[in-house]
């Protein structure tokens, strides 16, 4: 396409670009500026410059350091489980066995449920002694009457399970669509050469899916970083901060304690860490979407 013709399309992109830049980049600068001032919303006193004081305080804030650990736990455990189960499910669904087709539609469900509803679905399920979990264990002859959300380890486990529940079917469906692009003949010739079912998947499916797996993991990690409604509804970050990731601590600091400057400094660090980790992957993903460019 000629450059003169190309220039005309700028008019289609520019307005959206300007709107998007205004509503995304400006707020980031506002947040950074806020983090450098001492702001007392309750007294209404004018902001006082305090430089990087908030950032220094964060380093010795044990609640913040704890929230970093929780963030790591809530990223790595659920995403690993999602990938493991998702892969197993994709491999099994690929076989199109009678009575498994309907699951392809069922699996769409958790991806579209409002996250707040996911949180309360699980909250109802673990009502001590009277929830669905107690009912299921009763069927197996176990009398389960404990409050899972009252103890740090089990509360964290419940959040991990809920987050795995939300993400796994979606991972399974994406991997399934990837697996189905692999030619049947590849599996057949491997089987003729004496490969077992397990070996064909180990040496054909998984290596072929590697780029998709990488992309899916990046998106699931981003999703896990943003986890908020489930925690808000299910545990409220408790007990004793056991399920409080960084963004939840930032929310509590900003909107419950009204220390907006301190919350802003957390958000800035959170954002920078996220960018450092994700932007190389995201740029790569965007480049690979060249496909249809004319």
């Amino acid at each position: 396409m000629h450059s003169s013709r190309l220039r005309g399309y700028g008019l289609y992109i520019l307005p959206t670009f300007l709107v998007l830049a205004t509503i995304t980049i400006v707020p980031l600068f506002v947040t950074f500026t806020v983090s450098l001032f001492l702001i007392d919303v309750t007294s209404g006193l004018p902001p006082v410059w305090q430089g990087f004081y908030n950032y220094v305080s964060l380093l010795s804030d044990s609640r913040f350091l704890n929230s970093l650990v929780v963030t790591a736990e809530l990223i790595f455990i659920p995403v690993a489980l999602q990938l493991l189960f998702g892969l197993a499910l994709a491999i099994c669904l690929r076989e199109r066995l009678a009575g498994t087709r309907w699951m392809r539609i069922l699996f769409l469900l958790p991806a579209v449920i409002p996250p707040a509803v996911s949180g309360l679905v699980w909250k109802l399920f673990v009502i001590p002694g009277a929830g669905g979990l107690a009912w299921l264990s009763g069927l197996l002859g176990i009398d389960l009457d404990i409050d899972l959300l009252s103890m740090p380890a089990t509360a964290l486990a419940t959040v991990v399970v809920a987050s795995t529940w939300v993400g796994t079917p979606f991972v399974a469906l994406i991997l399934l669509s990837g697996i189905e692009t692999i030619g049947k003949d590849q599996y057949e010739s491997a089987t003729l050469d004496g490969a077992t079912w397990w070996q064909t998947h180990r040496y054909i499916s998984i290596p072929t899916l590697a780029p998709i797996i990488r992309t899916v993991v990046v998106f699931r990690i981003l999703e896990a970083l943003a986890i908020f409604p489930i925690i808000f509804v299910l545990t409220g970050g408790g007990p004793a901060g056991a399920t409080e990731p960084v963004n939840f601590y930032a929310y509590v600091t900003g909107f419950d304690y009204l220390q907006i400057d301190y919350a802003a400094s957390m958000i800035v660090l959170f954002f920078l860490a996220m960018m450092a980790f994700c932007s190389p992957f995201l740029v790569q993903i965007a480049r690979s979407a060249e496909g249809g460019a004319r």
Binding site: L11, P15, L109
Partner: protein, 273 residues
């Protein structure tokens, strides 16, 4: 592939156990929504003890819930209109660019979409407090657009890319302006993609929780946040919570069945095989 009996058994066990894990909590919520307050705390619990519509009747006659539900309808529709209006021309323009500029813009769009919502909440709260947009539908539509415009651009581009450029060139040779080529040729051809994008944006805005929680109080409160009012300190009304949850889930469910063909590709937001 021909599976041995053992392999078949493994496949059935994996898929059915997972389906049970997936369905059990949802079925439990539905069963709770038909129970009275006493049956909900019955020990040991059972799946179906009584069957009453009193929770649904209570929720549907609660003016606050209905107001919130209507807000969700308006805010989600508004977000769709704003995002599609801004994203479609941009996607059309971008699909005609090549190389570095296209990739650069797309990476930026993807980064914006990937950023956690918490990053935007605080500055928007401060700005809205200054200009009076706290607790307004317009305010929520605007902040939702931060995520839905990039999402829409990203999803619509492949549909424009798929249109053979000979068709557009023929239109230009016949004297159509570039704008006419977009509105009369490209947009109708990409219509299925644009429609499913619109539905996806609707679902996003309908499900959105963090912005609605922090930027609204009563006037513009959405359905997803309004459930919290049944989870008060003096004792949660689980029956109403479950019924409200089911009612909020219903529209999303209908829409997602409508676009199930596109759902996997599009929600991936750029995951390509």
């Amino acid at each position: 592939m021909i599976l041995s009996r053992r392999e078949k058994f493994v496949c059935y066990a994996v898929t059915y156990l997972f389906a049970l894990f997936l369905l059990a909590p949802i079925v439990w919520m539905l069963s709770t929504s038909f129970k009275g307050q006493l049956a909900i705390f019955q020990k040991p619990p059972s799946l179906f003890t009584e069957f009453t519509f009193q929770n649904y009747a209570a929720v549907l006659s609660d003016p606050q819930f209905l107001h919130a539900f209507w807000n969700s309808v308006l805010i989600s529709s508004g977000t769709v209109v704003v995002s599609v209006a801004l994203a479609v021309p941009a996607a059309y323009g971008l699909s005609h660019l090549t190389g570095g500029r296209r990739a650069g813009f797309l990476s930026w769009v993807l980064l914006v979409r990937a950023a956690p919502g918490m990053i935007y909440v605080l500055p928007y709260y401060l700005a809205y407090s200054q200009i009076g947009l706290i607790d307004t539908r317009i305010g929520l539509i605007l902040i939702n657009s931060v995520f839905t415009i990039p999402l829409a651009i990203w999803i619509v581009i492949p549909f424009f890319d798929a249109i053979p450029h000979e068709i557009e060139e023929a239109a230009i040779i016949d004297g159509a302006t570039r704008f006419q080529t977009m509105t009369r040729i490209a947009i109708p051809l990409a219509a299925p993609g644009i429609a499913s994008t619109a539905i996806l944006i609707f679902i996003f805005a309908w499900n959105e929780f963090l912005f609605a929680l922090t930027l609204t109080r009563f006037e513009a409160r959405t359905a997803a946040v309004s459930i919290l009012s049944y989870m008060a300190y003096e004792g949660t009304e689980w029956g109403k919570v479950a019924a409200a949850g089911a009612l909020i889930l219903l529209p999303v469910l209908c829409f997602s069945i409508l676009i199930r063909k596109y759902l996997v590709q599009t929600t991936a937001g750029g995951v390509k095989g």
